[in-house]
Symmetry: C2
C-alpha cells in the first residue's frame, strides 16, 4: 500500500478564506482527477473550521486541523510578516513542509508575505538567488508555463538562465512532456533586439550544453500561440504580460456578450447555442489556470489567486497534487547543479 | 476656402506594398469619415504605381507621385538605413514633412529605419531624448493610448514623465477629450511596488503642477478595462504587453470559432447569429487599432503595421488625418516647455 501525499493548506489565506478553501478542497475531492490520493493538514482556527466541515464531509474525512488563531492580512508587508508572522496559519503551513509532515504548501494569502516566509523557512536551492513564480497559461493547444510572473522585479542574466532550468523541469513534471521547448521573451526575434541582460541570457542559453531545448527569443504573441512550452522573463514584464492577457480575455468576453445580447434575435440564437458558448467560456476561465508555483526553494509552495473562488482553489490543488506525485525537486536539484557547474567552467558572470 | 492637409505616404513601405497602400488609400477615400478633406503625396516608383491607379480612381484624383526607384527593406538595420537610405521612398516621405510640403508622414515600412530617419530629418522637440511610439488600444468603452510600445527599450524617469505629457496631448488631439486620465504601468498599485525608475517617475508626476490628470499606478488588466485614458510605460514592457494582448485576442477568437464549429447544431445556430458574431469580431479586429504614432519629433510620423492589409492601412490614415487637423504639435510644444521648466525649478534629475 502506497502512502498518500500530504498537502499543507493555509485555511485562512485569501480574500474569502476560510470558506472558499474548505469548499475548494471539497470540490477537488468530489470532481478532481487526482482526488483519491491525497490527505490534508489544515492550518487555522478550529472553531471557525468546525461548522464548515459539516458541509464538507469528504474534506473532513481526510483532513487534520492544526489550530492557530493568528493570520496574515492581505495587506501586511513582507518585512512585517517576517517579524510578526511566526505561528500564523501561513507560517505554520510552510513549517509543515519544512518539518517533513507535508510534501508541499498551498496558500491563497498575501503573495509577498508567503514568498518571504517560504524563503526564510525552506531556504533557496544551492546557488539560486531568489525564487521565481511560474504561471500556467492557456494557449492554442493546452497550456504553457511563464516565469517569473512577479517575484523578481529586476533580474540579471544568471537569474533568467536559472528560470529556464526551473521552468523546463516544472513543465516536464506537470505536463509529462520530454524535452519541452524554452524561449526567452523579447521585443523581437532578431539577435540584435533587447537589452544587455536579455542578450547575455540568450548567449548563455544558446551556448549551454545542458540539453535544454532552447529555441531563442519569442515575442508576446507567441505565448498564447503556443510557439514554445516555457517562456522565460523577468518578474516585472511577466506580471504585466499576465495581467494584460487577463484583461484582454475579459474584454473580448465582454464584447462577445454585448454582441450576443444586442437584439432579441441574437439573444434567442445565443440561447440555442448556449452549450458551445459555455464550452468556449470555460476555456478562457482564469480559474482553470489558477495556481502559481514558487520555484527554486527546498520545497514546493503553490500560490492561489487571493480573490479566487472554490473552483479556482480546487484547480490550484490539482496542480499541487500533480507536483506532489512527481520527482520535480530531485530533477531541479540535478539540473541546477549542472547549470552552476557549467557557469563555473565557462566563468560566467551575469 | 480652406486648404486641404497634405499627407506624405511611403507607397513602398510594408510587406505588401505598394498594392495595399494604394488599396488602403482608396478604401479610406471611399469609406473614411475624414476622406473629403485630404490630399496625398505618394513616394515610390511611378511605373509600378501607374497600373494600380487604374483600379483606384479616387486615389489617383487626389494624389501626386514623387518618383524614386530605391526602397528600404523590412530587414535593413537602422544604421544601414541612415547610411544608404537617402533618396529612398521612406526618406523622401519624411523629407516632404521636413520641407513643409506635407503635414505628416505615413509608412508601413521597417520601424527601426523609419524611427532613425525621422529623428535625423525632423529632430527631437527641445529637451526630448527620444521619440515614443504611441498605440491606440481597444478597451471596454472605445480606445485608450499606450506608450511607449517599442522605441525605447530602456527608459529613465525623465523619459517616462515626458511620455505622460506626450500621450496626454495625443489623446486630447485624437479623441477630443479634455483632461484625459494618465496612469503609470506597474506590477501593483501600492506605492512601494516597482523598480527605482518607476518610483521616481511616479513621484515626479505626483508632485507636478502641470495639470496632468495623473491617477498613479495601473496594472496590466487596467489597460483593456479602461481604468485610464493614457498608459505610460517603457518600450520593452509596452511592446510585450501589446503583442501579448494581440495573441490573447487571437486565442480567444480561436476558442470561440472552435466552439461554434464543434457540432452541426452549434454551426447552425452560429449561422443564425452571424450578424452579432461579426459585430463582435469587428470590435477585436487588430486592423481597427492599426497606426502607431511617433511622438516627440518636430513633425508627425504615423507607422502602420508592416503586415497590414488595405483596411488596416486605411485605419492608420484615419488616425493620421485626425492628427493633421488638430493643433497637436503646438500643444506638445507648450506642455513640454512647461515640463522642462518645472524640471529645472525643482532640480529634477532622472
Amino acid at each position: 500500500m502506497s502512502i498518500k501525499p500530504v498537502l499543507s493548506i493555509d485555511a485562512f489565506g485569501g480574500d474569502n478564506a476560510p470558506e472558499i478553501v474548505i469548499q475548494g478542497i471539497e470540490h477537488f475531492l468530489t470532481h478532481g482527477d487526482l482526488s483519491e490520493q491525497v490527505e490534508f493538514i489544515l492550518h487555522g482556527d478550529e472553531n471557525q473550521l468546525a461548522p464548515l466541515f459539516e458541509l464538507a464531509p469528504k474534506t473532513s474525512a481526510c483532513s487534520t486541523v492544526k489550530h492557530t488563531e493568528t493570520f496574515i492580512d492581505m495587506d501586511t508587508k513582507p518585512s512585517q510578516a517576517l517579524r510578526r508572522g511566526k505561528g500564523t496559519s501561513m507560517w505554520n503551513t510552510i513549517e509543515s513542509v519544512k518539518m517533513g509532515e507535508a510534501v508541499l504548501a498551498v496558500s491563497a494569502g498575501n503573495t509577498g508575505a508567503l514568498m518571504a516566509m517560504s524563503k526564510l523557512q525552506l531556504r533557496m536551492k544551492t546557488g539560486v538567488q531568489r525564487p521565481a513564480i511560474a504561471a500556467s497559461w492557456p494557449r492554442v493547444d493546452g497550456m504553457c508555463v511563464v516565469l517569473d510572473v512577479g517575484a523578481n522585479i529586476e533580474c540579471d542574466a544568471a537569474q533568467l538562465t536559472e528560470f529556464a532550468v526551473l521552468g523546463e523541469a516544472y513543465f516536464r513534471a506537470i505536463y509529462k512532456k520530454e524535452a519541452p521547448t524554452v524561449g526567452l521573451l523579447n521585443v523581437g526575434t532578431e539577435d540584435l533586439k533587447g537589452n544587455a541582460v536579455i542578450k547575455a541570457a540568450h548567449q548563455r542559453l544558446s551556448e549551454s550544453e545542458l540539453d535544454l531545448n532552447y529555441v531563442g527569443y519569442v515575442e508576446g504573441n507567441d505565448i498564447a500561440m503556443g510557439t514554445v512550452d516555457v517562456i522565460v522573463t523577468d518578474g516585472f514584464t511577466g506580471n504585466i504580460a499576465l495581467k494584460t492577457a487577463e484583461g484582454t480575455a475579459k474584454l473580448v468576453g465582454k464584447f462577445l456578450s454585448d454582441a450576443l445580447q444586442g437584439t432579441p434575435w441574437s439573444k434567442f440564437t445565443s440561447f440555442l447555442n448556449m452549450h458551445a458558448l459555455k464550452k468556449m467560456k470555460k476555456r478562457i476561465d482564469p480559474r482553470n489556470s489558477n495556481g502559481g508555483v514558487f520555484l527554486g526553494l527546498n520545497g514546493i509552495v503553490v500560490k492561489s489567486h487571493g480573490g479566487t473562488d472554490a473552483i479556482g482553489f480546487a484547480n490550484a490543488l490539482e496542480i499541487a497534487v500533480g507536483l506532489a506525485e512527481s520527482n520535480f525537486l530531485e530533477q531541479i536539484e540535478e539540473t541546477l547543479t549542472r547549470l552552476h557547474d557549467e557557469d563555473d567552467n565557462i566563468g560566467f558572470i551575469a
